[in-house]
Subunit: 494 residues, 2 copies
Amino acid sequence: MDYKAYKAYMSKIADIGHSIAVLSWDKEVNLPSGSAAFRSQQVATLSSIVHEMLTKPSFGESLKDLVEDPTLTNKEKNNVQLTLKEYKKATNFDEEFVIKRSMLTSKAFHAWLDARKKNDWQAYRPALEELVILKREEARLLGDADHPYDNLLDIYEPGMTVQKLDVIFKDVKNELLPLIKKCTSYEKVDDSFLTQSYDEEKQWAYGLEVLEAIGYDFTMGRQDKSTHPFTTSFSPQDVRVTTRVNEHDFSDMLWSSIHEGGHALYEQGLPISEYGLPSGSYMSLGIHESQSRLWENNVARDFAFWEYQFPLLKDRFPNQLADVSLHDFMKAINNIEPNLIRTESDELHYHFHVMIRYEIEKKLIEGSIEVSELKEYWNDAYDDYLGLRPKDDLTGILQDIHWSHGSFGYFPTYSLGSFYAAQFYEQAKQDIYRLEEKLSNGDSSELLSWLRTNIHSKGHTMEAEELCKEITGSGLKLHPFINYIERKFNRLYS
Amino acid sequence: MDYKAYKAYMSKIADIGHSIAVLSWDKEVNLPSGSAAFRSQQVATLSSIVHEMLTKPSFGESLKDLVEDPTLTNKEKNNVQLTLKEYKKATNFDEEFVIKRSMLTSKAFHAWLDARKKNDWQAYRPALEELVILKREEARLLGDADHPYDNLLDIYEPGMTVQKLDVIFKDVKNELLPLIKKCTSYEKVDDSFLTQSYDEEKQWAYGLEVLEAIGYDFTMGRQDKSTHPFTTSFSPQDVRVTTRVNEHDFSDMLWSSIHEGGHALYEQGLPISEYGLPSGSYMSLGIHESQSRLWENNVARDFAFWEYQFPLLKDRFPNQLADVSLHDFMKAINNIEPNLIRTESDELHYHFHVMIRYEIEKKLIEGSIEVSELKEYWNDAYDDYLGLRPKDDLTGILQDIHWSHGSFGYFPTYSLGSFYAAQFYEQAKQDIYRLEEKLSNGDSSELLSWLRTNIHSKGHTMEAEELCKEITGSGLKLHPFINYIERKFNRLYS
């Protein structure tokens, strides 16, 4: 197999993978209520074909040969290396293990659904216990690492380790806690105008307008409605987002749209010529999240964006917003207040939600805590860090789907996304002449173009840390995030 | 491979085939304008996997062994036989031929598109010439038959032959021509109220209501909009229809919805336990079409249906229909008038459109006419049978997509569908106590249940002719269709 044949093979795998994505998108957006069984079966069939192609021994042998080919360019070699890494991961487990994992994951997911219905952690606990034992085994089987959890982190954020995350979250504790204290000490903001009645169709139209404004290409994508907003890609030329519309919560639609829009801009900007290859794919979940959060927070929760957009929004909703000043609007959309639900959290408290989960996962995988102790640990941690104690399991330990899917190591990428976003955005402001002035004139095209050049077009040709150094001159640091928050809140409350 | 393994293998093929259907449905209903290239590539990849699975020599060997297995039930044996027939067809041509066919079909399709843009038959002719030469070869390679065209007919309508069709279309000529003469001799109907402005959303809502009324299950299907109405099935539990809505032509939406709804009822009624097998699939295109036309014409262009529905329709569109009587409405929706376009034809002239195409295809394949003579032949035939001569190619020989796709032998199934429909419906009226009275009370459930039992649930366990005999006591005949028309028009114009 030469490089051309390898690329063709990967393209076929991508075609099937994207077909699965179409089936899954359709499931969330269109599927009639009684049609789920066959759809799951069809997805399973396509998935098994992808798995078979990726784990074919002859393919593994070809990769091992090809990676030694001296005529490969660096980018080509990197692609083959990353594919070989995937191959090894995929073939690392014997069939018995794979079947067991699939069984226990399915069991845990259904137990989680059931437990949520009953608002009872105990209905989830035994299945999660079995799954955690398996995940420990999985982390061990994935090879040597300083910490077994590193192997799970690496699935979502290649190169990320406990050692690095411990530093980051120590900084979060040391620097964010005082900042939160400061931000919550300001006078209480009246944000009730955000939850008046906002006509759903008008919201929808405004959401589309904002997506267009940030550069989302509707000739190669579309927005639809789904219960949980998400982005999916069928190729860089067909990247779709979903959002939800809540008549009485205007924010719900808008920031979901922008967040998913940021993810979608990334996928629309991946190099088409590298379709199916690592170099044509996203770099890591942290980098993916950096793109959604950069637009959602650094852009769309700051002044410049709304200096242009707020008058447009007011035109659409004069009754609701006539008496609201831009400054009051900015305060309302930047309200800092602790709550128990991660997905409803403000952009500061959010990282404590993640930190709690990170600490739990790390301890679970290293074996220094057991599932039986989890609820108590969770509730105590919320008490400690957010000053709130869940009154029930639904608003506590049952709120996230991730563990029930067997996803351990995923949560940290959310915080990494925010911190990368701040560091990238700080650099963009240095690189782009009068960026904020341009944003306040409704022009974000240079920002998008900067992201395209520096991030999107690079696909997965390096690790996130390397990219960060290449763009900003240093690896990930917390202080750009702190600076961004301080600067914004100083302006809000000066 | 035992029967169980065969069934599992077929189920996998069906899963991939239905995934292609999802991608294709999405293409017609949702695809952004710039996303077509990768979508075509993805469909091609899945199609090649299906082809590979269906033509695998080891699969063929297994089928040949399995068909001899004395423990198989009749139904099982029939499934294996039909699959073996498909296998032989698929492996009948060498690679060179398959590549050439694919190339020439693609060329002809693009030439057809181009010719339509230019309204110029000459831009299509050379590509069609090459394709016809290939189709002659294909018909020959498919084996011995009384007439080479039989082999092409068999692809769409297993068991159908030139000999049988010649009889049918001779009857059409002898019996339909005088009937048309009679029907067009009646006073001219004023149907202009059908082309007033009908609010599109209200049309849409009424279309959904009618689909529900005929028994279409929206928990296992949905209706969307597309340029050309179609039905697609992802399993009997997810059968979707599309329609189009034209503000100034109420009929366009409604009869498309009902026609596709009839197709969809068939697919929703196929036996789930036979998923992926011939016994879980439709019997022939003629039988499929019989289901759409039975609902579209025999039910929804006759009195009983509208005795119930017309007051509901009037409620929705009081301005447009207040002064219209049921009888005038019935005359308007049964207006008989020749025109040049097959898809816009009334239910009598329609069969002359089909007959002209049938005669041309037969002569082309047997070699008694050449593509160079086609336009003249076409125009003369329209003159002869419909008394109209196309003024240009768009309203003449360029109107259909079929030949450009290489589909020769498809057109006759449209007429067969109408005639089967009339014969089945005549039987249903004998079998169901006071069917028309029930329909006039808005209850079509017994009719659907009769179709489920007698047709849908049978899948492809026999040939159409056999089914017709089983249900009606005789093979296909034209006179039930003639009776249905005469009865309706006698009432309309008595």
